[in-house]
Symmetry: C2
């Protein structure tokens, strides 16, 4: 898996985010506008041509594949291509999960791009956000936890608009962690999830980053 | 739910698609390019400004909320804002599901925008695609089926790239339909899903469309 060390400090992380986050937000607005626009066909064709020109300029220099996941030497993760949370990924709403006393929470507004049944959140988008939530709920000590089984129960349709997610660990068994997650609108829980998360026995990417950090520290001392 | 009749013929559906599909494809390319680009910050800022200008033009006239789901009078669905399949939604890969003898199948290439673990498909994206698949597998007679419970088992990580989905009904019990779905890469199944789908007792949106069609036919005869 593509996990790598990027040896930059927090200020540089913030500086890069200050450039890419507004860009990605603009693309999110574009995704939304293309769904909702009612301008005439000539305007749509003109928009397409302009977008294609921007794409060509951005592709002048680019990574071969996906963004991957990079870490600073103090293990600040930069999963900026992540489909649920990525700062560079306009597919992501993006979800911003905070963990306090082991409980994860996120508030997010789901607009036109996340529609399934007319006016409502796509059930699969609820599953996407809950999968990310249970992953971050189970993760600990810079060690990821991968979803083994995710069971999602849809209690009622979730209207497009603001939603809240909340997750907590309900038990552990060896390398397994059991997590409960919920998605709610203003009137209460609409979707709930139970997950069996699995911590990998070995995670070579993490080991590689740790040994690279040790080497860097060595060179500097 | 926002389901509505749009009284246009197949040729007009195709004509509209011929405009919006290339536009949405261009936005998909843009989403991908913003994730992968390595051009300098000045170029990123310039791209953002240009995108914001396009958004402003598209928003000159637009729907209030999500796209909703419209149908022609012969029940051709136009769920063009759908997060998994939508012809106007750049979040959607898009998934194009075909049903032959009750078995649903789709081939789709998942690029950088669908990443979770570095180089691999986000587990929640697999869940999104499988949720759409089981929904279309259970749907019949222009009657939708909503997901009650979706259980997703991750057998191994799915590399970014081409994948195949396949779904089939495994049983029914009153308004419940049981569906099995699979997501595979070239080496076999990577994710499998079991779903309990529920057909609504009443679906007022469908009834409303049917009565509108009847009224239209009446007026013309």
């Amino acid at each position: 898996m593509d996990f790598r060390l990027e040896d930059i400090d927090d200020a540089e992380v913030e500086r890069r985010l200050s450039i890419v986050e507004p860009l990605t937000d603009a693309v999110r607005e574009l995704v939304d506008a293309v769904i909702r626009t009612e301008v005439d066909d000539a305007e749509l064709v003109a928009a397409r041509e302009q977008i294609e020109a921007i794409v060509a300029r951005l592709r002048a220099q680019q990574k071969d594949k996906g963004y991957g996941v990079s870490f600073t030497r103090d293990f600040t993760g930069m999963p900026w291509g992540n489909a649920a949370t990525g700062a560079r990924n306009a597919v992501a709403p993006p979800l911003r999960i905070k963990k306090v006393d082991g409980v994860t929470r996120a508030d997010v507004v789901l607009g036109a791009a996340y529609e399934g049944p007319g006016g409502h959140v796509h059930g699969g988008i609820a599953a996407l956000l809950l999968d990310q939530l249970v992953g971050e709920t189970a993760a600990a000590d810079h060690m990821p936890s991968f979803t083994g089984t995710l069971t999602v129960r849809y209690l009622r349709p979730t209207p497009l608009g603001p939603v809240t997610l909340e997750g907590r660990v309900t038990g552990t068994d060896g390398r397994k962690t059991f997590v409960h997650g919920e998605l709610s609108d203003a009137d209460g829980v609409t979707v709930e999830a139970e997950a069996i998360m699995i911590q990998p026995k070995h995670f070579p990417a993490r080991d590689a980053i740790i040994s690279t950090i040790a080497k860097l520290e060595n060179e500097r001392s």
